[in-house]
Amino acid sequence: MSGIVKDQKYRNRQKYKDALITTFIAIFAVVWMIPILWTFWTSLRPYSDIIQKGVFSRPDTLNLRNYADAYRLMNIWEYLSNSFIVAIPAVFLTLFFGSLIAFVVTRYSFKFNLYLLLLFTAGNLLPVQLVYAPLFKMYIWIGDLVGNRNILYDSYLGVILIHVALQVGFATFVMSSYMKTIPKEISESAMVDGASVFRHYWNVILPLLRPPLAALSVLMTTWIYNEFFWAIVLIKSDNKRPITSALGRLQGEFVTDFNLLAAGAIMAALPTLIIFFILKRQFVSGLTLGSTKG
């Protein structure tokens, strides 16, 4: 009897606490959104409106003029396409290479398997600053060697390759932990049937890898799209810049035209926001596969 009363008391107290926690999280969620909403709001108003009447004034006009202007004046489309020219092949190659290594490491028992996994995973965690100077020099030397200085430096190819080289570690790690959950019998029957290594990979394993491939492609597209360091260091020509490093320059050029800049920033954010809202489940499962093994 007294046990039930005590239970009731606990439950009531927990109810109050829950209400408090929920309110707290809700208030914070609003605070969390303010910077983005404010930028969006700014992007809808003409600059002259704000200058004349102040930031908090009721707007006379709300329209997408700034977007049209930013699109035209800032060459947003060119920078956005540069971003995708880098991100799409980079993600594709990263996943392909990652699946190859993960396949060999989990389906065959070579002595070097563990070392290979450690090498790739550790390489993924190195600070990029450690790689930067020699890689930069290497790109220029390779360029001079083949007689075209811009083959890797100041080219999409160079940026794509360093992204692949760094990220393949994460892809390998995620896919190999996923592959360990695929029963060994599937591989054994393939081998007994006399399938070649290539057929074993292509016809048996690769189709089973669809879930981690989907999750990783979403996660990595946003990572590489948002990447910043290599875009500053390796791309010199403005017309080859991806949107992230281009925004840095535009910020200097359009420093007084807030509303245009706001529209540019929102446009730069749109691709990742759209990917996130459409493929939210892939995001979560990508992180799940990466953070908890097996």
Partner: protein, 304 residues
Amino acid sequence: MTTTATKVKTRRRRAFTRKDILTLSLFIGVPTFLHVFWVWIPAISTIGLSFTFWNGVKLSDIKWAGLANYNTVFTASPQFYDALQNNTYWLLWFTSIATPLGVLLAYQVDRAIRGHKIYESVYYIPVVLSLAVIGIIWRFMLGPAGLVQVLLGHPGIEDAIPIFGNYSINTYVILGIASWRHIGYIMLLYLAGLKSVDPSLREAAAIDGATEWQTFRKIVLPAMAPVNTIIIVITVIESLRAFDLIYIIYGTSTGWPILGMLVFVNIYGQAASMLGAAYAVILFLLSIIPIVFYLRTVFREDIK
């Protein structure tokens, strides 16, 4: 009969044809070549270069310097200690405040409090934005004529209070912006891990009359031990790697120096100095501990 059959089977399974050996070598060789040549060889070269004087132009100009660069870093570069201090602030703030907040948030969202689906998205949105966009967004908040300036009663561009240039507050401001992104990231990572905790454990705790806080501390945290390690390690590595946000706010002016930026400013541009390599090696040495922890946690079964 049966024994010979299994023998044939195992032999056929073990022996690779010549084509298979070629396939396997390519499967391993191509990605490994790219990874080693693009990541490890440059990384090791940086360690070597940190013991030399070089302006970064011709290979023949490289001169042995011994520990001279490190000597300069430790004895003649006050910026180094500022950077070390700022990285430490970053690390302490992230490990003691931002990461725990992200974990608690994940726990609440996982309990399916009202509106949890919305909160999950709201808190994660800053994570999918690039830091270039984040830099601009926060400039609209804190910069001249920004929302915060207006709220503080300084709406004009001329009478704006310098926030990023004010040394008594800029550390808090930067860590606040960084947390805006980090908390959502940790939340989603932890949320992913929480899904794997057996729900019956928590139900049992609830029946025994444990409060939510007790359940979290005594049931969930211990069950999440490997994920906890990974999250702490990610936090440490992120704190050491910090670069983008500072570059977006201060450019190369080192208005708020951190190690990642000191590497960059010493190497980028015309007059490279191998002081930058020495900074990179120091950054690397600091990163080794969390990297080893990470590898030991995620590969603990394989290493045994």
